[in-house]
Amino acid sequence: MTELLLARWQFGITSVYHFLFVPLTLGLSVLVAIMHTIYVRTGNETYKKMTKFWGKLFLINFAMGVVTGIVQEFHFGMNWSEYSRFVGDIFGAPLAIEALLAFFLESTFLGIWIFGWDKLPKKLHALSIWMVAVGSNLSALWILIANSFMQQPVGYAIRNGRAEMTDFFALITNPHVFYQFPHTVLGGYVTAAFFVIGISAYHLLRKNHPDFFRRSFKIGLVFGLVSIILVTAVGHFQAQYLVKAQPMKMAAAEAHWETADPAAFAVVAAVDEKNQTNTFEIAIPRMLSFLSYNSFSGEVKGLKDLQAEAEAKYGPGNYIPPVTSVFWSFRIMVAAGAWLVLMAFVSLYLWKSGQLEAKPLALKALFWSIPVPYIANSTGWYLAEVGRQPWMVYGLQKVESAVSPSVSTGEILTTLIGFTLVYGILAVLDLYLLVKFIKQGPEETPVSIDLGTSGKEVSLWT
């Protein structure tokens, strides 16, 4: 039991930590590629500087994403060997394809891009950062195909006590992917857009390199506006889809205990999981039916009925995920999204009316909005993964039977502490470097190399 708990903690920590870096990689690779392309097409040196400045921040973040991703891949075998045996026939394939199709592309061309200045023809060089962007986004596709199988198993048959793939095409066209992939990737674009917007706002507030940061701001804003609108729309349809595909998850996300038609939407609620009720709630009548079906009537099943159905289908047990935390993570994600929509439109208005730089409060708010997409990303994954409990693979394997039997509590504890410690230290250093380069701005070349072979290291810096 302790093993299970520790293994779950480890999975939670390593996944959330990994996904602090991935979204920015997804979006910033595209933004840097856009900047680089503008530079190549116009020959304007500002865009070269932009490519290098934002590119440097991209690289620091990218390194963290890569190294935490390695743990992510091996992790299934280490802590979840019975899961790996049970679904390896299906789950391993997208992981291997991710490496073959995406990781090679991404990392090989990143090397070319970093070291290719002046070595490659300009267009080919710009193409290499596009390859990085394509690689990153493709990797998101394949890992989400894998994750979607856990949420909604398709294209399989249970044989010899394990899930075997019967239809690869069904696996990659899992309807769940069509919502999860755009929602996740667009979330990454929003993260990167607000990263660029926020840092640009920081410098515009201080009147540093106004031309440089105005242009950066504009690119970030356009990209961010499109992304935030799309991510919100996809999120809405995804929730409607989940009402059908994973009703238990959505009922938990809404703390919706009793089946009702029409169903009310609880904006906030004090959830009492023990007595399976909300002791307090502010609810909008008929709204949950509307959100679920675009109609003010329609039955939305409650947690209690879903639990009874699950027991009838899978046998006795608790099939209700932790309601309180799932309920609030959903709300925090939505609130974060709403805040970003607001900030995007305020920025657009201020930009269009030419008042942006005269509004320090807005610039400050934009700067402080940098962490908001991160909150949305993390709570979104919390909803997706914790909302799936107690299942590892929805309806097929429970988390408790997925954990490695050969790994002892002490071993998990060792790696849990080890990874957490190293992750903690790296987070501090990563932040230190990002802040340093952000503050430094574009003027300095990102990395200055002191030429000459004086031999004395002290002479290399002052």
């Binding site: 390194a63 190294v67 390695i70 743990v71 091996f74 299934f76 075998g77 280490m78 060997s81 019975e82 790996s84 045996r85 390896g88 026939d89 391993g92 394939a93 992981l95 291997a96 394809i97 490496a99 073959l100 199709l101 990781f103 090679f104 990392s107 090989t108 990143l110 090397g111 070319i112 970093i114 070291f115 290719g116 200045w117 070595k119 490659l120 075997e164 793939m165 690869f168 490695s404 050969s406 790994v407 071993e411 060792t414 790696t415 080890g418 190293v422 250093l429 990563d430 470097l433 990395v447 200055s448 190399i449 030429l451 000459g452 004086s454 031999g455 004395k456 290291e457 290399l460 810096w461």
Partner: protein, 334 residues
């Protein structure tokens, strides 16, 4: 030939690619603090692998992904069984991966020195443990009837597997040193040559020891093919050393590369058709049949691999072509 065999070969190829490419990355990382006497020199050393190390590491990720896809029981038993060893390798890879990016991001010499030693440590630990891991596959580890590893971390350490670890450590270091003789010039090239000579002189007796222990501890020599390849691998190591002494650095690099390739081939050949030997009972060993995915999955993955691997090889080879010139202090950009 059935697909299980094909996938065994493919996984072997991925490990060959990984050890061959990442082998010199590890070697360069291990030699970094000793060959680079000042910051500029260390930049030169790092930049020899700068554009390619990340792509090289993906060979490992792909090998891991491929073993998961093709032989899920192997993936599950191996990674949950070699738990702490793998943890150490992962820590090494994490620290080393960020170190490449972080070191140049601050000019404080203490900061740079710290990350240079991290690159060293990460490379050293990984290079050592890969040898320990591979020899354990062949020597056999306690695996029960349910494919569960029932030993501890210390069961992975024996004279034979430690000799295996030392072998990969030294051969990868030599590989890195020889690589540096080709990618640098002047004094650095000379230093790399000198250290390659010393490393080679150390590696030869260790490989001899490994050969003896392989004979006493494993069944490798009961297979003529595997035995011949293994001995050829050792012979190429001696040849590499002789070629180096004769001043033929390029040929020495090729000879030592063959050492790595053939060593990997011999290990997998000796394993075949097993993937992991059980020391408790031969019937409990994991094989390419009892550990494999369904024929359907293997078929899908075969199509994917046979289309993608050649493309990957093409663009990775192109990277090496783009960065084929020697790295000198004059043209350090990054």
């Amino acid at each position: 030939m059935d697909l299980n065999i094909l996938w065994f070969i493919l996984v072997t190829v991925l490990f060959i690619g990984f050890f061959f490419l990442e082998g010199f990355d590890y070697g360069v990382g291990i030699l970094l603090p000793f060959l680079g006497k000042n910051d500029t020199e260390r930049r030169v050393v790092i930049n020899t692998i700068g554009p390619v190390w990340d792509g090289n590491e993906v060979w490992l990720i792909t090998a891991g992904g491929a073993s998961f896809a093709a032989f899920p029981n192997w993936y599950a038993t191996l990674f949950s069984g070699f738990y702490l060893a793998l943890f150490l390798i992962l820590l090494g890879l994490i620290v080393r991966g960020v170190a490449f990016e972080f070191r140049s991001s601050d000019r404080n010499p203490a900061w740079r020195n710290l990350w240079d030693w991290m690159i060293f440590g990460g490379s050293f630990v990984s290079a050592l443990l890969w040898g320990v891991a591979v020899t354990n596959l062949l020597q056999g580890v306690p695996i029960d009837a349910n494919m569960q590893y029932v030993g501890t971390f210390f069961d992975l350490l024996s004279p034979y597997t430690l000799a295996g670890g030392l072998t990969t450590l030294l051969v990868f270091t030599l590989h890195g040193a020889l690589f540096l003789t080709l990618k640098t010039e002047g004094e650095m090239e000379e230093r790399a040559r000198a250290i390659a000579g010393k490393t080679g002189a150390l590696a030869i007796p260790v490989v001899l020891l490994l050969a003896i222990l392989t004979y006493t501890r494993t069944d490798l020599f009961s297979k003529t093919g595997a035995a011949v390849v293994f001995l050829a691998s050792a012979a190429f190591l001696v040849l590499a050393w002789l070629l180096l002494r004769a001043g033929k650095n390029g040929w020495a690099f090729i000879a030592n590369s063959l050492t790595i390739v053939l060593f990997t081939v011999s290990m997998f050949w000796a394993l075949f058709p097993r993937l992991m030997v059980s020391s408790l009972s031969p019937e409990w060993s994991l094989t390419i049949y009892n550990a494999s995915s369904s024929p359907y999955t293997l078929k899908v993955m075969t199509v994917v691999a046979l289309t993608m691997v050649p493309i990957v090889l093409l663009y990775q080879a192109w990277t090496y072509w783009v960065f084929r010139h020697r790295v000198t202090a004059k043209e350090l950009h990054y």
